[in-house]
């Protein structure tokens, strides 16, 4: 898969294929933000992305805030939807999770707390249209290189 990527899709099978292809790009330490309205298919996308790592039992982390999975890759699956302020993220050790250089972190609704996110990250945006087709756009963000202080 070449990034940036964007495609209109009309079936679950297409989403499954895109999620699988995207997962092959991921390396330990990567962070993936998923944006899109309720029901747009963020958790569905994660479920089929992590199948690449031998993980079959992904459920929504909306109530648990974070789910952890062990496959051929360690996965942390967050959902910020119920988070009211960043203190709640500090309390669950969010930075410690992201510091785990052996794991890939998926974060649904990550755009709610942009200041908590690393500058380098993948962004998966899913738009659900009225005719139930979807647009999936994937890009990789890189931070602006800062000046080195002497």
């Amino acid at each position: 898969m070449l990034l940036p990527f964007a495609k209109i899709i009309r079936s679950e099978e297409e989403t499954i294929k895109i999620a699988g292809n995207f997962a092959r790009l991921l390396k330990p330490g990567d962070v993936v933000i998923l944006t899109g309205n309720l029901g747009s298919g963020k958790t569905f996308f994660v479920r089929y992305a992590v199948k690449q790592f031998g993980i079959d039992s992904v459920s929504s982390p909306t109530f648990a805030i974070v789910n952890e999975y062990d496959g051929s890759m360690k996965i942390y699956h967050f959902d910020f939807y119920r988070i009211k302020n960043s203190a709640e993220l500090f309390d669950i050790g969010f930075n410690d999770y992201l510091n785990d250089s052996e794991a890939v972190s998926f974060i649904e609704w990550g755009e709610m707390f942009p200041e908590m996110l690393p500058g380098t990250r993948y962004e998966v945006d899913i738009i659900l249209y009225e005719n139930l087709s979807r647009a999936i756009a994937i890009k990789k963000n890189k931070p602006i290189k800062i000046a080195i202080r002497k």
Binding site: G29, V31, T35, F80, I83, K84, N85, S86, A87, F90, G93, N95, D96, L98, N99, D100, S101, W109, E111, M112, F113, P114, E115, M116, P118, G119, T120, P143, K145, I146, I148, R149
Partner: protein, 223 residues
């Protein structure tokens, strides 16, 4: 504080969950567990194990030394809250030990006099706790004070010089030692005995881990 008594030290600033009962350099009891995310579950087992092995009770201690940071947000809070609970229940003072100082003391005991080295541990994905030290005898001095730098600054600051800490993990350099990133609890205790006299706290209600930064609380953005 009666320094002839043993001291209990606790290290939870990183992946290591470590506890030591330290009498002196020739007599000490240490339990270390090197595993992620087990500190809350295992810390009291470790404490019980070293106390039992040393055939003492908490009442026989002179103080509890806690590795106070900087380090893991969650790890430090687990260690600090356990320390406060034990100290309060046993009427013991607490000695907060600067984590980088204890690690520098440990590293200095293995390096030749005059060697300069860096410690660089991750704060988060973007930032690094950073300090430069120089070995003096079997101890150390700060060559560059503890601060937070951006990860992009690391290589320009350390080059290929001897650097310890979790921030080294992404670089392929023989002088980078990512596996030496937190002190053994033995050195937390030793630091407290050597340098901790003026840090002894009887009233520790407001004692908190040293994260070297304020965690600014932000409300969520409506999307």
């Amino acid at each position: 504080m009666d320094l002839s008594k043993p001291i209990l030290s606790i290290e939870t600033s990183g992946i290591l969950c470590g506890v030591s009962v330290y009498f002196d350099d020739g007599k000490y009891f240490t339990v270390n567990i090197h595993q992620k995310n087990v500190h809350a579950e295992k810390l009291f087992e470790c404490i019980d194990s070293v106390i039992t092995s040393a055939s003492i009770s908490l009442d026989d201690l002179c103080a509890i030394a806690i590795s106070a940071g900087p380090g893991s947000f969650t790890g430090l809070r687990i260690g600090m809250s356990a320390t406060k609970g034990l100290a309060f229940g046993s009427h013991l003072p607490i000695i907060p030990v600067p984590t980088f100082d204890a690690l520098a003391l440990q590293i200095s005991s293995y390096l030749p006099d005059g060697t300069e080295f860096f410690i660089a541990n991750k704060v988060n994905v973007e930032e690094i706790y950073f300090a430069k030290f120089k070995v003096i005898g079997n101890s150390y001095i700060f060559a560059e004070g503890l601060k937070i730098i951006h990860r992009e600054e690391l290589l320009s600051k350390v080059g290929d010089q001897l650097t310890f800490g979790t921030a080294c993990i992404n670089y392929d350099c023989k002088n980078f030692k990512p596996n030496v990133s937190m002190p053994d609890p033995f050195y937390v205790a030793k630091w407290s005995k050597l340098f901790g006299q003026d840090k002894v706290l009887i009233d520790y209600d407001y004692l908190e881990p040293n994260y070297l930064k304020n965690f600014i609380i932000m409300e969520r953005k409506n999307v």
